[in-house]
């Protein structure tokens, strides 16, 4: 622990030298003391409206007026008195203990002090909770048709915050009692919870939903029904680039999505790399780290995707902007159905996808290129490399981490993206995304399972792709990689 050398006040120095967990406990105790005096009894008595007294006022007047559902009650505090006093005295005691922590720990081990603080804080919490139930008798509650459990849960943010603080104090004291020291890295612990709740748990649930089903007796059994639904040997006609292919139904769907994802990635790379190169060169030449020009290319990212996609459809639509222009110039007589034509619609979907994902490819490549050491390129020239050779042998290999992160940021989402193909093709194109949606929203349990299995298969495919990309970047050290 860092010792702070404040020579001005011995008392402050002592308080600052006590361990983190004890300081946290002090905050909790201080909070419960303040709550006692603040007109915020509502903190623990939230479901009862229009009551705004502090414990301190009850202690002063001996009684309080309360109105529940417009019926007024007068409450006496006789039953709650010991708990009221406890919730006043305990925080004071804890704070005194902490203030003299240094002196006390000279004789008693710190763990014992922590244990004492822990037990005092616990009693404090209990007494705070018990006051309302002792104040308000069961008869009053029954008359007002309010349950006693309503007294303990605070539906307001302030109340929840206070309870959280108290619990944090309890945890901190428990830490001290166990002889553990609190470190700043514990700030990261809640994120593990986040990881478990929002990543691990959902994955487990998907897996469970995909392969387990409830049988007639109500218990869960393993099943491959969903998997078999996907593997059903039904062959359909699919059109790819003017060719008509006979493919297994869901394989053709997968192929369609893969086709979009690959072209989106390739298109983004083709547009983004030269653009990033030019922008990075410009930024280096003008000695600015951020480029206003770059912002303009990223700007569309901040507009809702759906909105943009509908705008594209409006542009290419039957009575859209493009058709209107073409007709007004008398280049065509009747509107062209861009979105209904097999080949054109396919092209437009890819165009919109590239437009949509461009920033995700542009930014990682730009950030790597802009940080590239100018001397390294000059060294290449110095050793006899012309511009083309310097690019292919030095600049491009060094920008690979950016390219790979760009691919990861574009390919993976593009594979499962269904909104753009759906909106542009007006529902006539089936992608993996739409298939999963149809499966999951269906009434049939087997179909839902198929949706989950499909999600898992996609995840496995994505993980494999990512693994390949990661390995291919081993040589360059992976600087600038996001995943």
């Amino acid at each position: 622990m860092h010792r702070m050398h404040l020579k001005t006040s011995a008392g402050i120095t002592e308080v600052l030298e006590i361990p983190v967990h004890i300081r946290l406990t002090a905050i909790a105790a201080l909070m419960s003391l303040v709550v006692f005096f603040l007109p915020s009894l509502t903190l623990t008595l939230f479901s009862i409206p229009r009551m705004n007294l502090s414990f301190f006022q009850i202690l002063q007047s001996g009684q309080m007026r309360l109105s529940i559902h417009d019926v007024k009650y007068t409450l006496t505090f006789s039953g709650a008195l010991p708990f009221l006093l406890l919730s006043l005295l305990l925080p004071v005691l804890i704070l005194l203990l902490i203030f003299f922590y240094r002196k006390i720990t000279e004789k008693v081990p710190g763990r014992a002090v922590s244990a004492a603080v822990l037990s005092l804080l616990f009693v404090n919490l209990v007494s705070l909770v018990l006051v309302p139930t002792k104040l308000i008798s069961g008869a009053v509650l029954a008359k007002a048709s309010v349950g006693s459990s309503d007294l303990f849960f605070a539906p307001q943010a302030v109340g929840n915050l206070c309870i959280l603080l108290l619990i944090t104090g309890l945890c901190a004291a428990a830490f001290g009692t166990m002889g553990l020291k609190m470190h700043l890295r514990m700030v990261s612990y809640p994120y593990f919870l986040w990881l478990v709740v929002f990543t691990v748990l959902p994955l487990l649930l998907i897996f469970f939903a995909a392969f387990f089903t409830k049988n007639s007796s109500g218990s869960y059994v393993f099943t491959l029904g969903g998997f078999q639904t996907l593997m059903v040997p039904r062959v359909i006609e699919a059109r790819f680039y003017g060719l008509t292919l006979h493919l297994q139904e869901y394989f053709s769907v997968f192929l369609r999505s893969l086709d979009y994802a690959v072209w989106t990635t390739f298109g983004c790379l083709l547009v983004a790399y030269p653009l990033a190169y030019a922008l990075a060169n410009r930024a280096r030449r003008t000695h600015t780290s951020s480029s206003l020009l770059l912002m303009f290319f990223v700007l569309p990212m901040w507009i809702n995707t759906m909105l943009r996609t509908y705008a594209w459809r409006a542009f290419f639509g039957q009575s859209g902007v493009l058709n209107n222009i073409l007709i007004s110039f008398h280049w065509i007589a009747a509107p062209i159905l861009f979105l209904k034509l097999d080949f054109l619609s396919d092209f437009i979907i890819k165009l919109v996808l590239v437009n949509d994902f461009l920033p995700f490819m542009l930014l990682p490549i730009y950030s790597v290129l802009v940080k590239l050491d100018e001397n390294v390129t000059q060294a290449a020239h110095d050793l006899g490399a012309n511009s083309r050779q310097a690019f292919s042998r030095v600049v491009f290999p060094l920008s690979m981490p950016g390219v790979i992160s760009g691919i990861q940021m574009v390919f993976m989402p593009a594979l499962t993206f269904y909104m753009i193909p759906e909106i542009i093709s007006e529902g006539s194109v089936t992608t993996i995304g739409t298939t999963v949606q149809t499966f999951i929203l269906s009434e049939s349990v087997v179909q839902q399972q198929a949706g989950n299995v499909l999600s898992l298969l996609l995840l496995i495919f994505v993980l494999i792709t990512m693994g390949i990309l990661r390995n291919s970047d081993k040589d360059t050290g992976g600087g600038g990689m996001i995943l």
Binding site: D373, N375, V376, Q378, A379, A380, H381, D382, L383, G384, A385, N386, Q389, A390, R393, V394, P397, L398, M400, D475, T476, G477
Partner: protein
Amino acid sequence: MADFRSSAGKPQLLEDSTGSAHIIELKGINKSFGDLQVLHNITFYIRNNEFLTLLGPSGCGKSTTLRILAGFESADSGIVNFEGHDLLSVPAHKRQLNTVFQRYALFPHLNVYDNVAFGLRLKKVSKEEIRTRVDEALETVGLSGFGNRWVDQISGGQMQRVAIARAIINRPRVLLLDEPLGALDLKMRKEMQMELKEMQRELGITFVYVTHDQEEALTMSDTIIVMKDGVIQQIGTPTDIYNEPRNAYVADFIGESNILPGAMSRDYEVTFAGKIFACVDPRFPEAPEGSDPVDVVIRPEDIYVKEESPDRINGMVTSLVFKGVHYEMLVDGDDGFTWMIQDVDPVKVGKRIGMTFDPDDIQIMRKSDFSPDRRKTQPSEEDTVLPEDI
């Protein structure tokens, strides 16, 4: 005088009394960045196979000169001849010069072997020849067997050696070195200085070396060019530069010196510190009749400590520092000047002494408006942290 190669006036013909071959000649190079002119009429030549050092503080234009030679910067005006051919119109990648960069600038995506082989691969040299020549280059810099290491797995000194090996693999006519030892620690720097000098002799390549470290320049160079604010101050051998600094700036930049104002009214006689001294220099030819103000340099090691006497410059010792080989003393002279003396025998602080020196240790220079700060005689120290010059 040793400054016959200098560029004091208009671009002049470069005459060399020794008659040796010049590999590079620069004539009247000017260069500005925006409103700031960083090079003023730079004119000098580089002899074949010599070790030439551009010496000066940060921002003096030495690196810019080197970058113009390498082809990374263009000159606003002037001529650069490389063996009689115009060099400025040749793109960087076609010049027969190679550069060792200040921060090494190794290719981080290649290992040591591939870094060194880079230049040869571009020339479509056969695999076997690449292998022999890379091994040879690595051996030259003392890194045999390091080929498979990644450049981030080796130390700063080793990176520097790789950078040198990479630069000499193409067998350039001239090697340009931009403060190559700047990022190394003192001991490593001393070692590398010796090795570089040795390497230059063995390889028979002309070295153009940029540094702000005067000691480094004196140790390694055949010729030193002292620069300040984009103007060449003096060109000469290390001995010339040290013993006969052309002006107060050079005297101050190269080593410790006592620089004081003086005057000459006749040949072989100079007045300073209120006394007349015999010297070995005649008056400057352009000096007017009567008293001509000059700057006088006396090196601290050339001063003899003697007894106090009315016909000597007298003073009191105010500080005494042991420097290893000698003691360094500061003496508050009765003339009002603080003298620095280096002597192997210490004199107690507070003691009064007299000072003498030989006539040929008095160096007379034309008066310049440069006024050296006694406490900052080595401007190089604070420059070491700066990553690059203009």
